[in-house]
C-alpha cells in the first residue's frame, strides 16, 4: 500500500512540478514597502483563487471577470510607488527575470529606454501557461506573475470594469486612455522597442499597434 502511494507520488511529481513551474520566487519586498509612498502586495494562490472564483457571478461584467480567472492558478502582484527615484535595487528585478530566462520562457515584449524598462514573458508551455510582467521606472516598480492560462485580450479588456474604485494615485493603475488617443507622454526620448527573438514584431499597421 505504502509502495503504491509512493509510486503514485512519483508519477504525479512531474505534473505537480510543471503546474508550479510558472510560479516564480518573487523577492521579499517587505522592506521596500516601508520606503514606498504607496504599495500593493497581492498573493493569491490556487486555493484562495478557487474560493474567490466561486463567488463571481455569471452575468455582465462579472461574466468577463469569471472568464478571465477561470484558468488561473495563482496571481502575484507587487507594485511600489516612491517619492524619490532609485529606491529599489535592479538586482531584485533581475533575480526574477533570470528565473524565467533559465526556465525557457518566451519574451513576448521588451521596451527599454534610459529610465524605463518593460518586459513581458510568457511561459513556454501553453497548456499550463503563465506570465511575468515587469515594469520599472525610476519611481515605480511593478512585478506581476500569473500562474495558469492567460488570455491577454480578455485581461486587457477588464480595466475599469471590475468595480475597483478609481482612486487617484493608486499604484500600478493608470487612467484608461480613450481609444485612438495615444497614452500620456513619458520622460526622455522615444524608447526602442525590441521584440523578443522568435516573436514576430508588430506588423506595419499604423497608426495602432496590434492588440496584445
Amino acid at each position: 500500500m505504502k509502495r503504491t502511494g509512493f509510486l503514485l507520488m512519483l508519477a504525479l511529481l512531474p505534473v505537480l512540478s510543471v503546474a508550479q513551474a510558472a510560479r516564480l520566487r518573487l523577492p521579499d519586498f517587505s522592506e521596500l514597502a516601508g520606503k514606498a509612498r504607496e504599495s500593493v502586495d497581492i498573493s493569491l494562490d490556487g486555493d484562495t483563487l478557487k474560493m474567490a472564483r466561486g463567488f463571481i457571478g455569471g452575468r455582465g461584467n462579472d461574466a468577463e471577470f469569471a472568464d478571465a480567472v477561470k484558468d488561473l492558478q495563482g496571481i502575484y502582484v507587487k507594485v511600489f510607488s516612491f517619492d524619490k527615484p532609485n529606491m529599489y535595487s535592479m538586482r531584485d528585478v533581475d533575480s526574477v527575470v533570470s528565473q524565467v530566462e533559465n526556465q525557457g520562457w518566451k519574451k513576448l515584449m521588451s521596451i527599454r529606454d534610459k529610465t524605463d524598462r518593460v518586459e513581458m514573458w510568457m511561459h513556454a508551455d501553453n497548456n499550463d501557461g503563465g506570465m511575468l510582467f515587469v515594469a520599472t521606472e525610476p519611481e515605480e516598480l511593478v512585478l506581476i506573475n500569473i500562474v495558469g492560462k492567460v488570455d491577454l485580450q480578455t485581461l486587457s479588456r477588464l480595466q475599469g470594469r471590475l468595480g475597483v474604485p478609481m482612486i487617484p494615485g493608486m499604484p500600478g493603475i493608470r487612467p484608461p486612455t480613450p481609444p485612438g488617443v495615444p497614452g500620456p507622454g513619458r520622460r526622455g526620448p522615444p524608447p526602442a522597442v525590441a521584440p523578443a527573438p522568435g516573436v514576430a514584431p508588430a506588423p506595419p499597421a499604423p497608426p495602432a499597434a496590434p492588440p496584445l
Partner: protein, 103 residues
C-alpha cells in the same frame, strides 16, 4: 380553677379535618413533582446555552469566511485591474512608438 379549665379547654384533643390526609398527600406529590422538574431544569438550561453558543460560533465563523471570500475577491479584482492597466499602458506605449517611428 379557672386556669385549670382554660388549660383543659385549650388542650382538648381535636380530630383532624376529613381531607387532612388527602391534603398532605397532595402536597407531597406536588413537592416531588417540583423536585423532579428542578432536576431537569439545569441540564436543559445548560443544553440551551450550549446550543446558543454553538449557533453563535457558527454565525461568527460564517461571517469570517464570507469576509475572507470578499477580501480574496477584492484582491483578485485589484490584481486584475492592475494587470489590465499595465497591459493597456504597454499597448498605448507601443502605439505611440509605432506612430513616432512612423512605421
Amino acid at each position: 380553677m379557672d386556669i385549670e379549665r382554660s388549660l383543659q379547654a385549650a388542650l382538648r384533643p381535636v380530630d383532624p379535618p376529613a381531607d387532612f390526609t388527602a391534603g398532605v398527600m397532595a402536597r407531597i406529590a406536588r413537592e416531588q413533582q417540583q423536585r423532579r422538574r428542578a432536576r431537569w431544569q439545569m441540564p436543559v438550561a445548560l443544553a440551551a446555552s450550549l446550543l446558543v453558543a454553538a449557533v453563535g460560533v457558527r454565525i461568527v465563523m460564517q461571517q469570517r469566511e464570507q469576509q475572507r471570500i470578499e477580501t480574496a475577491r477584492q484582491q483578485l479584482a485589484l490584481a486584475l485591474e492592475i494587470t489590465s492597466s499595465q497591459l493597456n499602458g504597454l499597448q498605448q506605449r507601443l502605439n505611440r512608438n509605432t506612430m513616432e517611428n512612423g512605421i
